[in-house]
C-alpha cells in the first residue's frame, strides 16, 4: 500500500477549522487522517513539514491552458506544471480554445489529455454559447456529463441579456454555476487600460469601470429571476464588489473571485506602455484595489483565481495597443496573497487558505479542498516566511508574460501533492 506521511507541519483545514501542528497520513491517494499520534504501520514516503503549513490542495478556478489550438502559448501539460509550482492541485481551464470547448467532444479531449499529461487535476469549464458567440446555447448538459464543472464565455461575454437568462435557467437544471467575465463590450470597445487619470496621461484608450459594473448589475438581476448559481470572474471594480455584497445580503447564490494582480497592482504601477501589465479587466484605480481587498476581507469575494493567461513573447512585444490581454499568474498567486493580505494583517492565514480551497471548491462542488479523511489526497505545503525571488525565465509555463519578474516574496509553495503523489518540490 502506497503511503505518504507529511510530518510535523502546521495543518490548516478550513473545512473543519483544524489549525495545529500535526501529521497528515495519505494512503492510496486518499487522506487517511491527520493528527499527532497516527497509527502508522509502514510508511513508504516521509515528508518533513516542520515549519511549514500543510493545507488542502489549492484550487484555481480560472486559468487558460490554451490547448487545443494555441499550444505555442501553453499546453495542458505545461500549464499543469506551472500550477503545481504555484501550489495548485486543481485547475479549471476556460473554454476559449480553438475549437471552443462548447461540446462534449472537446470537453472529453481536454479531460483525456489532462489524464495523460497533466500533473494536477483539470476540471474544464464549458462555453455558455456555441463558439462563445453569444447566440445559441452550447451543449451544456453533455459537457457536464463529460466533466465540465461550470460554464462561461470568458473573454467574450454574452451581451444579449435574454441569452444569458436562458443560459442561467438551463445551467440550473444541471446545478452548474454560470461564470461571467463582466464586460459591456460596447463600453469597453477599443480600450487598452483602465479609464482614468493614467489612461488620459498616456494617451491610451480607456476601459471604464462601468463596463464591468453594468454587467454585474444585469447578471445579479438575472440570477435573482432565474435562481441560478452565478459567479463573477476576476472582479476588479468598487461598485461590482458592492453589488455582489448586496446580492449576497439578499440571499442570492452569487459568488465572486479576485485575481492576485487586482489585489497587488493599480493602473499607476504600470511602467509606461509595459504590456506585461495589460489584461482584462485592466489594473484599476487604487480605490478599486482597496475595494477588492476589502471584499476579500468582508467575504463578498469567495475565491482567489489567477486568470493565468499565457501569451508568447512575440505577441507581447508590440505597440501596447496591439498586444493581447492577459498575464500568467499560477506561480506567483500564493506569494502575492501572503504579501498583500496575510503579512499586513488584513486577513488570517486560515482565511487565505479558504480563498484557495473551500472557497472555490464550494462554488464548483468538486469535492476537493479539504483534508477530511477519505478526501482525495491533494495537499499544498507552503512556507509563510521563506524568501524567494520569482524568475519568470525559469517559469514552468510556456510563456513569460508576468509583471512580477524579479519580485521577491516572503512565503510561497514548497511542495505539491496530487492524489497522494508529490508532483512538485521547490527546487
Amino acid at each position: 500500500m502506497a503511503t505518504l506521511l507529511i510530518k510535523n507541519g502546521r495543518v490548516m483545514d478550513p473545512a473543519s477549522g483544524r489549525d495545529e501542528i500535526a501529521d497528515v497520513l495519505i494512503e492510496d491517494g486518499k487522506i487517511r487522517g491527520a493528527g499527532k499520534d497516527l497509527a502508522v504501520s509502514e510508511v513508504s514516503e516521509l515528508f518533513d513539514a516542520t515549519g511549514l503549513v500543510v493545507a488542502p490542495g489549492f484550487i484555481d478556478m480560472h486559468v487558460h491552458l490554451r490547448e487545443p489550438g494555441f499550444e505555442h502559448a501553453e499546453t495542458i501539460e505545461t500549464g499543469s506544471r506551472a500550477a503545481a509550482a504555484g501550489g495548485f492541485t486543481s485547475i479549471c481551464p476556460m473554454p476559449n480554445t480553438a475549437p471552443v470547448n462548447d461540446n462534449a467532444t472537446v470537453t472529453s479531449y481536454i479531460v483525456e489529455k489532462a489524464r495523460r499529461h497533466a500533473i494536477v487535476n483539470v476540471f474544464p469549464i464549458g462555453a455558455i454559447t456555441k463558439g462563445s458567440k453569444g447566440d445559441a446555447l452550447a451543449e451544456i448538459g453533455s459537457m457536464r456529463e463529460a466533466g465540465a464543472v461550470a460554464i462561461s464565455d470568458d473573454g467574450r461575454p454574452v451581451m444579449n441579456a435574454r441569452v444569458m437568462r436562458r443560459a442561467m435557467e438551463f445551467a440550473r437544471s444541471f446545478g452548474m454555476p454560470v461564470i461571467d467575465h463582466c464586460e459591456d463590450l460596447h463600453l469597453s470597445a477599443g480600450g487598452d487600460m483602465h479609464e482614468g487619470a493614467e489612461s488620459v496621461r498616456l494617451g491610451l484608450r480607456g476601459i471604464p469601470a462601468c463596463s464591468e459594473d453594468v454587467m454585474v448589475a444585469r447578471d445579479i438581476l438575472l440570477a435573482e429571476v432565474t435562481g441560478a448559481r452565478y459567479h463573477v470572474a476576476h472582479i476588479s471594480s468598487r461598485h461590482s464588489v458592492e453589488m455582489v455584497a448586496f446580492a449576497k445580503a439578499r440571499g442570492l447564490a452569487v459568488s465572486a473571485e479576485a485575481t492576485p494582480h487586482h489585489l497587488a497592482l493599480s493602473d499607476r504601477d504600470m511602467p509606461p506602455y509595459d504590456s506585461n501589465y495589460k489584461m482584462k479587466p485592466p489594473l484599476r484605480s487604487s480605490c478599486d484595489v482597496e475595494a477588492v481587498t476589502q471584499g476579500v476581507v468582508s467575504g463578498a469575494i469567495d475565491a482567489i483565481a489567477t486568470d493565468h493567461a499565457p501569451h508568447p513573447g512575440s505577441e507581447k512585444m508590440q505597440e501596447f495597443e496591439n498586444c493581447p490581454f492577459g498575464i500568467i499568474g499560477l506561480e506567483t498567486a500564493l506569494g502575492i496573497a501572503l504579501e498583500k493580505l496575510v503579512h499586513p494583517g488584513k486577513i488570517e492565514l486560515m482565511r487565505m487558505v479558504e480563498l484557495f480551497t473551500t472557497g472555490p471548491g464550494r462554488i464548483l462542488s468538486i469535492g476537493r479542498g479539504t483534508l477530511a479523511p477519505g478526501a482525495p489526497a491533494d495537499v499544498t505545503i507552503f512556507s509563510v516566511n521563506r524568501e524567494w525571488t520569482y524568475d519568470v525565465t525559469k517559469s514552468l509555463s510556456k510563456s513569460s508574460n508576468s509583471p512580477f519578474h524579479n519580485k521577491t516574496f516572503r512565503g510561497g509553495p514548497v511542495a505539491t501533492v496530487v492524489g497522494g503523489q508529490i508532483v512538485w518540490r521547490c527546487p
Binding site: 488620459v200 498616456l202 494617451g203 491610451l204 512585444m317 505597440e319 501596447f320
Partner: protein, 311 residues
C-alpha cells in the same frame, strides 16, 4: 541609456529652457537667407514615419540639413499582422546602419517608448498616437515667447478634441512647468475630466466663451476625425459651438495670438477670417518648427558626440 526626446512630461524646466534659448540662434534674421551650418556634419538621422505627415517630416529634414547632417526619410506602412515584431525588426535593421538618431512618428501611443527599451539609437518622438508631440510644444512655446517675455502667468486656451490630441498633452506639460494657466475646452465627450489633474494650472470648460475670456493665447486643435472611433459629437454642430470666429477674439486680451498646429480645416475648427487675421501666428509656428528642431537635433546628437569622445 540613449538620450533621445520621447516627451515633454519627463523634461525639466531648465532642459526645456535650454532648447528654447538655443532655438533663437537658429531663427532666420529678417530677410536673410539661411546659411547652412556644419555643426552636425557627418552625422545622419533617419526620419521614420509610420503615419502620414508632410510638415513635421519636412521640418525635421530641413532642420537636419541646415545643421549639415544627412537626413534619410522613410515612410513606412505598418503591416497589419504582427506589427510589433516587424516594428522591432524594422528599427533594429535601421539601427544596424548606425544612424545618430531616429525621428519617429507612429499611430500607437507609446510606440517610441516601447522601442527605446530595445534600441541603443536615440529616438526623437515626432508624435505618438494620442500621447505626446514634444517638438510641437517646443515650437509653440518658442512662438509665444517671440511675442512676450515669459510664459509665467499667461492664460492659454486650448480648444478642440483634447482627448485625442498629442499636441494638447505636450503643450499642457510644457506650459504647466512654466507656470501658465491652461484652460482646456471642448465638448465633454472629448474632454475627459481626469485632464484636470494631468498637470498643475489646468482648468476645464465646455464653454468656448469662458475659455477665451481674457486669454493671451488661443490654441485651436485640428478636429481629428481619423482618431475617433465613434461619433463623439454631431459633426455639423462642431463649428457652431467650438469653431473659432472673429467675434470670439473680442473676449480675449487685445494682443491675443491664435495658434494652430496645422493642417487647418477652414470652416471646421477655425474660420478663414481668423486664420488669415493679424492675430494668427500659424505661419510663425511653421517657421519656428525648423529652429526648434535644429536645437533638439543638436542637443540629442551633440550629447552622443561627447559620449563618444570619452572612449
Amino acid at each position: 541609456m540613449p538620450q533621445g526626446l520621447l516627451g515633454i512630461e519627463g523634461l525639466s524646466r531648465p532642459e526645456i529652457q535650454a532648447i528654447l534659448d538655443r532655438s533663437r540662434d537658429f531663427q532666420p534674421r529678417g530677410d536673410q537667407r539661411f546659411r547652412k551650418l556644419d555643426l552636425l556634419r557627418g552625422r545622419m538621422v533617419v526620419n521614420l514615419f509610420f503615419e502620414a505627415s508632410t510638415r513635421t517630416r519636412t521640418s525635421f529634414e530641413i532642420a537636419a540639413r541646415r545643421l549639415g547632417a544627412d537626413a534619410v526619410s522613410i515612410t513606412a506602412q505598418a503591416s497589419s499582422v504582427s506589427k510589433g515584431e516587424s516594428l522591432v525588426d524594422t528599427l533594429n535593421t535601421l539601427a544596424a546602419m548606425h544612424p545618430d538618431a531616429i525621428i519617429m512618428r507612429h499611430a500607437a501611443s507609446g510606440a517610441p517608448h516601447f522601442l527605446q527599451r530595445y534600441l541603443e539609437t536615440p529616438i526623437i518622438n515626432a508624435g505618438d498616437g494620442t500621447h505626446e508631440h514634444p517638438t510641437q510644444a517646443l515650437l509653440d512655446a518658442r512662438t509665444i515667447l517671440d511675442r512676450g517675455q515669459t510664459l509665467e502667468g499667461l492664460r492659454v486656451a486650448i480648444i478642440g478634441d483634447i482627448a485625442h490630441s498629442r499636441v494638447a498633452r505636450s503643450n499642457v506639460h510644457l506650459l504647466s512647468k512654466f507656470g501658465a494657466h491652461i484652460v482646456l475646452c471642448g465638448p465633454a465627450s472629448l474632454l475627459p475630466r481626469e485632464l484636470e489633474n494631468i498637470a498643475s494650472g489646468v482648468t476645464l470648460t465646455t464653454d468656448m466663451n469662458e475659455a477665451i475670456c481674457g486669454a493671451d493665447v488661443i490654441m485651436m486643435l485640428r478636429v481629428q476625425l481619423e482618431r475617433q472611433h465613434e461619433a463623439a459629437f454631431p459633426a455639423n454642430e462642431y463649428f457652431q459651438f467650438y469653431g473659432l470666429r472673429l467675434e470670439h477674439l473680442q473676449l480675449a486680451k487685445p494682443e491675443v495670438i491664435v495658434m494652430h498646429p496645422g493642417p487647418i480645416n477652414r470652416g471646421r475648427e477655425i474660420s478663414s477670417e481668423v486664420a488669415d487675421s493679424q492675430r494668427s501666428v500659424i505661419l510663425n509656428q511653421v517657421e519656428n518648427g525648423i529652429a526648434v528642431r535644429m536645437a533638439v537635433l543638436e542637443s540629442v546628437l551633440g550629447a552622443k558626440k561627447n559620449g563618444n569622445a570619452a572612449h
